[in-house]
């Protein structure tokens, strides 16, 4: 890859005109969240580096993943690569799993350039700010969080890197939200059953592929670091944490180390969440921060979450789609592509050939029984293999011309649901909706109809027209 960490990726973005730098001082509120909201609304949707924030020492970067252009550059593709092509490139890289990391000595790890172990004050290092108006406080919304299973502390495979929201509650105290179905909840449960502290590392400002993998629903014993290596085509560099056996990215900007207090729950939230609404306040675990290590002049990377689409929607788009695709493809080889990028897979569209009548419905039910689809996915649309599930115009064509609501639409009541979806009631329970928009095949049947074709030479003319546009018209 052409970049090894966040800093080097920002250089790539700048060279590709996908980075804006703000040199004038801004206020933490409301400027930073307003910038985070505005950037993904732009056509180019660049990352934004804010160099000076009133009252703080360090810079902030927002919207690093917040466009298809930035997403393509993360995958080393030209920035105008279509989404479906990015999906298949990601699939190709995915299959290179695992590429194991390399460990570098602490003294050579950039993230250890500065070590703070007394007088911890998060505000000295992090330019913290309120993300949405009624958030309970200042949040870390883009942290790669590392824990191990205390019952198997030497197990690298069970080590988890996930992205969970973190509320700052003091100079050296934060709160975390581990949902019961998240891998970290397994580690916490094992620690709390023994009334033990759970060591934790909160890594900020990472190689974009690492943040991407921390947001990806992979299997419990699969390693996010090994996947990141696969996506990069070379090992990521790790080093050891100061206070525990945890493996942390050697090139992160900032790492907060500490432990989850066992058997303690304290009020946390509300927080503006990815479905575009606030979660309620709940009782959640707290973390004591005991050490901070960081690079010189660290860059604080955070994520604005707003009404979709904002950066988070790009961060959990194709990496939600690929695991579902892999799980479906194993048993249903006719599946062509999966687009599960609507609100972290609450909505999903699958394109597939139909081997026999009713096949689309079977594919939908399989999706709803995958580990991620089971709790997150509420609405599934199945389309024919020649429909691009990433092109909503084509999907709407399939819905309007292929669906017979009397036989192609069904519901599954009282199934597992995603608690943060405000329509999940009680929280954690959904009724699933399946719409089979595939063309009927035997023994099912529909009226005979033949599809329109594409004029000969359409592809040639598409290229001619594209080139004319690039050249500024046929002068």
């Amino acid at each position: 890859m052409v970049y090894r960490d966040l800093r080097e990726f920002l250089e790539v973005l700048e060279a590709e005109k996908q980075l804006i730098k703000i040199k004038d001082e801004v206020m933490p509120e409301p400027d930073l969240s307003a910038i985070g909201r505005s950037a993904p609304n732009m056509d180019s949707a660049p990352a934004v580096l804010v160099e000076k924030v009133k009252g703080y020492k360090n810079s902030v970067v927002l919207n690093v993943h917040g466009s298809w252009q930035n997403h393509a550059l993360m995958l080393n593709l030209p920035k105008d690569t279509p989404v479906k092509d990015q999906f298949f490139k990601l699939k190709e890289l995915w299959d290179k799993y695992p590429i194991k990391p390399v460990w570098i000595d602490k003294k050579d790890a950039p993230v250890k350039e500065v070590v703070i172990d007394t007088g911890i004050n998060l505000f000295e290092v992090l330019p913290l700010f309120r993300i949405n108006e009624f958030d309970a406080g200042f949040y870390l919304s883009k942290a790669l969080i590392v824990t191990r299973n205390p019952n198997h502390p030497d197990s690298y495979d069970e080590q988890n890197c996930g992205m969970y929201r973190i509320q700052v509650k003091g100079k050296d105290k934060v709160a975390i939200q581990p949902m019961p179905f998240h891998d970290i909840a397994v580690h916490l449960k094992n620690a709390e059953e023994k009334n033990e502290r759970l060591p934790i590392a909160i890594c900020l400002g990472n190689d974009p592929v690492l943040s991407f993998m921390a947001s990806t629903p992979i299997a419990y014993v699969q390693s996010e670091y090994d996947f990141a290596g696969a996506l990069k085509g070379e090992p990521v560099e790790l080093t050891k944490a100061e206070n525990s056996n945890l493996d942390i990215p050697a090139r992160s900007e900032i790492v907060l180390e500490g432990y989850i207090e066992p058997r303690v729950r304290e009020i946390e939230g509300p927080f503006g969440e990815f479905p575009g609404s606030y979660s309620g306040a709940r009782l959640q675990p707290i973390i004591k921060i005991t050490k901070i290590t960081h690079r010189k002049n660290p860059i604080f990377e955070n994520l604005y979450i707003g009404m979709p689409w904002t950066e988070v929607d790009y961060l959990v788009a194709l990496n939600t789609s690929i695991p579902l695709y892999e799980q479906l493809k194993r048993d249903f080889p006719e599946v062509e592509a999966v687009n599960a990028m609507y609100t972290h897979g609450i909505g999903a569209i699958v394109s597939t050939k139909s081997r026999f009548g009713g096949y689309g419905k079977a594919v939908a039910m399989r999706l709803l029984s995958t580990p991620h689809g089971m709790s997150y996915t509420k609405i599934v649309i199945i389309v024919d293999e020649f429909v691009d599930p990433f092109d909503l115009k084509q999907v709407m064509w399939a819905l309007t011309t292929r669906v017979r609501p009397d036989k192609d639409v069904f519901k599954i009541p009282c199934a597992p649901g995603m608690p943060l979806d405000p329509s999940s009631e009680p929280a954690g329970i959904h009724t699933k909706l399946v719409i089979d928009a595939t063309t009927p095949v035997a023994p099912d049947f529909g009226r005979d109809c033949e599809l329109l074709g594409t004029p000969v030479d359409a592809e040639k003319w598409s290229e001619i027209l594209r080139n004319l546009v690039k050249e500024g018209g046929n002068k």
Binding site: E29, R130, G137
Partner: protein, 75 residues
């Protein structure tokens, strides 16, 4: 000073700005709400804080635990 969100008077200064005398951040010890002195009245003024987001400390023990605390293993 009162907490804008739950009206508790158990409020402390969490931190002062690391650079200059730019702002202070306050923390409510009752509902753990935090806010900055430079934020608008919609955040800092208990009278103007949106009523839909006000919290009543008497209800805190009815909130869900995420995740639930497991039983201790017998030694």
């Amino acid at each position: 000073m009162k907490c804008p969100r739950c009206d508790s008077e158990l409020v402390s200064v969490m931190v002062k700005s690391p650079v200059g005398d730019a702002w202070e951040v306050y923390l409510c010890d009752t509902c753990k709400f935090s806010w900055r002195s430079t934020e608008g009245d919609n955040i800092t003024d208990p009278e103007q804080y949106d009523k839909r987001f006000k919290l009543n400390p008497a209800e805190f023990n009815t909130f869900d635990q995420i995740p639930p605390i497991p039983k201790l293993l017998k030694k």
